[in-house]
Each structure stands twice: as structure tokens, then as C-alpha cells.
Symmetry: C2
Subunit: 379 residues, 2 copies
Amino acid sequence: MTSSLGPNRHLIGRDADTLARELATPALMVDLDLFEANVATMAALAREAGRKVRPHAKAHKSAIVGKRQLDAGAVGLCCATVREAEVLADAGLPGLLVTTPVVTPSMAARLVHAGEKAEGLMVLADTMAGVDLFATLARPGRPIGVLVGVDMGMSRDGVATPAEAVALAARIAAYPQLRYDGVQAYYGHLQHVKAVPDRHAKIAEQWERLDKVLAALKAAGYAPGIISGGGTGTHQLDMAHGPFTEIQPGSYIFLDKQYGEVEIVPGGSPFQTSLTVAARVVSDVHTDRVIIDAGSKAVSTDYGPALVAKGAPEGSTYQFMGDEHGAIRVPEGTARPLLGGIVELIAPHCDPTANLHDQFHVMQGGRLVDIWPIEARGH
Amino acid sequence: MTSSLGPNRHLIGRDADTLARELATPALMVDLDLFEANVATMAALAREAGRKVRPHAKAHKSAIVGKRQLDAGAVGLCCATVREAEVLADAGLPGLLVTTPVVTPSMAARLVHAGEKAEGLMVLADTMAGVDLFATLARPGRPIGVLVGVDMGMSRDGVATPAEAVALAARIAAYPQLRYDGVQAYYGHLQHVKAVPDRHAKIAEQWERLDKVLAALKAAGYAPGIISGGGTGTHQLDMAHGPFTEIQPGSYIFLDKQYGEVEIVPGGSPFQTSLTVAARVVSDVHTDRVIIDAGSKAVSTDYGPALVAKGAPEGSTYQFMGDEHGAIRVPEGTARPLLGGIVELIAPHCDPTANLHDQFHVMQGGRLVDIWPIEARGH
């Protein structure tokens, strides 16, 4: 019952008619062709621009997805949590970068252990204590790569001044059991600025700020080998004009409602929405709506209601109706979805939506061709 | 690594000092004394009022918690999903009521199978198709209990008129392999009406509506044995004046920010907050805040920011800073929590917060005394 492939594992290979009858819902669906096109597009854009891509695994938390990104040319994968790094390291995936400072000895020890299973693990530090902790834990002959976290106006983690960055780099470099690998400078808060010129202006301010840090590091003898940052929303500007050696996009593989409202490149997006939540009509007793079995435990609640993608007339709307339910209303004069029928939703925000589920149901040519476990969800 | 007890299992029995150093965060914490007092209080109130309690497992999704509620006198447990029913049935817990209509043959078959492992499983129907489906699946000699779903103004599931309720009851009763057990009439949308008199007025309107349904059922020979409804917010009024034979409260075991703003009984609440999210300060480089490792993947986003409960000066505030982070700001003139220190948050909404985690970390007398798996989360 709780196999890592979940309650729909017996449906692998079955066609749309069978799924319409039997798919256990709510279920997270991935359109494989669109997903693969998104992965290939980002890889090609980076190649053309002479940049590297280290996609962010926080979007999918899945070793299979991560492996496909690596196979397409990614230099590694970013991880937001210790668990993500453990799961991906267990799968032998190289080039993991933990993008969040870790300052707890027991959690840092888990990371060091994970680093013994996968080549090239790197961690982030923005405090002296964080550097010292990993120096204490690193094993002889197996140095740990450390990036200096630099704030890019998000005021979350990362040092704010060139002097602090130089001091941290010096601290890292002073430990033989650590390896100073460069800097991370992420502006997550600017990924969703809707218009390209506005986004360009805002990130250019941060590039200037980062340039000062980079100049100071270089002057002090700590020119960074890696400058990691950027994301799905800023990738084109980052690759064309930014200071980064590598980009950290996450959501580009799936997209969502939030990115659907962003002009990712002038006039549109090079990526297509590949992720939906399939839910089923479980009640039709109220004539102005039907009720589906997807609520706030199947769809993220951090960016308004989900969009209706399939299974209901164009112009239909979704409304949260508690933890396990939602209402679908159809435009006047159109037919409501039938009781038992499947409606597919576009998530308001893909990362926290994937985090609610345990499997991706992978569709191609109208068939369920695979199920991918989301084994790094949770903590 | 992915044991059902999670990364903190080696800390069971350890004291607060050890936890302060070693607890892997974010972690969902339960104060056992407060939790047990909440369970006992609801059980005692129901006994005194001559009502039964069938607590809602959607709040905790955990067989251990459900068993404690049954041990305290609950007649069974409500389940919002097929998976909840499967997990609780696997643990042998009796009296399960699935409060959501299930209309997919494969999912209904899973419920019937679950019902073979646990005594007294009941399902909900608000359509003829739903009744017919379970009639098709029920096995000889093992009738399935069915409740008629009645709408109580939420316009989600449940029939709206006495005539529809009678027709459904007749349909259920006509099948020898089904057992007509009564009605469910739930008003989830009225649980959080803040002032007692307002709440009383609103639910009294729904009682009147339900009275008409009950009278029609009785007149037609379908007087319900079970009338199930109510919740944490309305429990006192439901028990004192309502039409229910049993109440379905969920959140009373934990409470949360949302219920903290509700006058559950005149002047306050008979329950106390027993649930927190423990997170750790992972960055302190910005002088006006510290950053903790709990964001929208550790704390529900459906009711504004979390509250700060412990580990930071009174008056401190929390702000979401993305999927894995939050900012804690302290009042002017007070000291910020130290790097590596633990801050505990009260969840905006307990049900979807528990659904983000895989374990409850159970605290008593300053020690971690147990870890309870949240094994029914997901779908």
C-alpha cells in the first residue's frame, strides 16, 4: 500500500481510458514530452551562452528527475535541505551544492556523510561558525567544498559586504580540510518580476553589488572558481549579461501559475507547463459547481487558486474548499464535468505542490509510462 | 535514513540540552501533557453531555494519535481520505467513517478492503451513483455502513433537500449488502466564526435545516441511528443544543493560530496549543533579523504568518522567506536568538502543517519521549 510508487503503480503502461476509470486521485501528473523539452531547452541555452547549469532539486525532490537533468548536461544539482542532499547522494548523483547554510553539528555530519557517497559535494557558509563547523567534521583526504554566501538584496542569508566575503573566503582557505570553491549569490525575490525590463533593472543593481564583492575577493587572492546564482525567471538575462559561471533554475522543468504570469523572455517563455494535479469529481449535488478531491493538501496555497487545465470547459475556475476538496465552476451555458470524471489543475506554485505529493505520474502519448518517487520530500 | 521515525529517532529519551544541540530541524513537536489534556477534556465534555465523539483523523493522520483518542472513549475516527482509512484500518482501529464521498471504483474497492481489517467502517454518499458503487463492491455477509451526506450551508458535498435525503436513504436501505446508518451533516465553514453568539446564530440556522431532513427521514421510516457533525469550534454548542448523536472534532488536540483567534467557549478555550514547529537559526548576518530553517514547506501558508512561541523574546514576529526559510524579527532592545538556536512556531493552521511533516516529536518533562509517524500523509 505504501510502496514508493504509490497506489497507481499497477496502472503503469495503461491508457487514458483505463486511467479515467481507475487513477487514484489526487495525483501529480507530468507530461514527459513537455518536461523533457524544458530540460533540453535550458541545457541548450546554457551551452550556447557558455554557462553551466546546476538545476535546483527543491523543485522536484526526486533522484530520477535529477539524473535526467545531469544526463542533459547539468554540472550538478542544488539542494535546499539536508534530506535532498542525502537522497540524491544515495542515488550517486554528483555535484551537489547545498544552497542553505547548515549550522547544526548533527545535520552537518549527515552532509559530510552524504558527501562520501557522491563526488563533489559543496556547502554554503555565511558565518565563521558555519565554516568552523565543517572544518571540524571534514575527514582527512576528503576536503569539503565551501561557497561563500553573498546577499543579493533578499536579506535572507549571505553576507552583505565585500569585507565580510573576503574574511569568510580567507577562513575557508585557511583550513586544509576545506576547499574554497567560490560564491553563491541568489536573488530568489527577483525571479517573478513580471516584465523583462523591470527585472533587468533590478538584477543589474545586484550584479553591481556582486561585482564589488568579486573584485575584493580577486584583489585578496580569492578569485572565485564558481559564481552560482540566478533562476528560471532571470536565466536569460543571467546567461547573456550576468556575472555567473552557473545558473540554478528549478521551476523551469514544470512551470506553474505564478510563472505563467511572468514574461520570462521578451514576449513569452521558452518553457511549457508540464505539471498538473489530477483530481476527480466526487460530488455534483450543487448545480452551480462540482466538487473535486483536491484541496489545500494537494495544491499549494501560497499563490491564490489553482488554474483549471483540462477536464472542464475553457473558462472554468477552481476554488479551495478545505483540506481535501475544491469547487469547479464552469462558464454559464457549458456542461459541468461528470461525477467521477478527472479535472486537471495547474498549480499556483510548483515547488510546494510537488512537496505535498509522494509520486510524479509520468504521461506520454496518452499512457502512464512511469511513476517517479518524490523521495526527498519532508525533512 | 528514511525510517518511519525519521532523522531524530536516536534522540528519543534525550533531554532539552541534547535536543538543543542535535535536533534535526524543522521538526514538528507535540507537548504530550497538553495533548493528553486536550484529548481527555473533549472526551469528558462529550460524556457529560451524553454525546459521542468520533475525532477527525485528518488533523493528525497518525494511527498512534487515533488509538489514544479511542482509548479515551472515542467511538471511532473520521477519515478524509482513502489513505487515512487504509492506515488506520491496518492498525486495527475500529469505527472509521470516511467523511468524503468516494466515487471511483478502484478507490472504493480499497475502502471495502480496508473495512475487512477493521470493524465498523462507514462511508458517505450524496449521489445515487455513490450508493450503487458500494452496493456493487460489498461482499456477502459483510455489509458496508453508509451515511447520507447532508449539506449544512457549506455547498460542498451533501444533499440540500429532505426529499433527496429520503431518496438516498431508501436507495441504501434497498440493498441488503449495505447498511443505512444515518446521516452526516458537517459545517466546516462555521467552525471559525470568532464570537460565540454569532457562531450560535449561524449554526442554529443549519440545525433548523437539518431538523427538516431528520423529520422527513423519520416520517419515511429512515430515522437515522447516527447523526454525525460538528467540530472543535462548535463542539460546546453542538453538545448542549445540537441535533447530533456524535461530534467530529479534529483540531482540538493541537490548536493553532487560527483557533487561537476564536472564542471557542465564552471567554476562551478548554484546549491549549500542544503543537509547534521547531526550527533553527541558520543565518544571523542581517542585524535586524535572524533566518530560521522553516518556510512554506514546514508551515502551512493558508492563514498568514506563523506565531513565535518559544526561543525568541516576547513580541518577536515570523515572516515567510521562501520554501525553506523564515525571518524572525525581535522587538527593539531585545536580543536576537543565537545562531544555531531553536525557535518554535505556532502553526497558522494545524491540519495542513501536520501534513507537511512525517513525524510528531513528542515532548514531556523537557525530554523527547517518543516519535509518532504521520503515516497517512499524502495520497
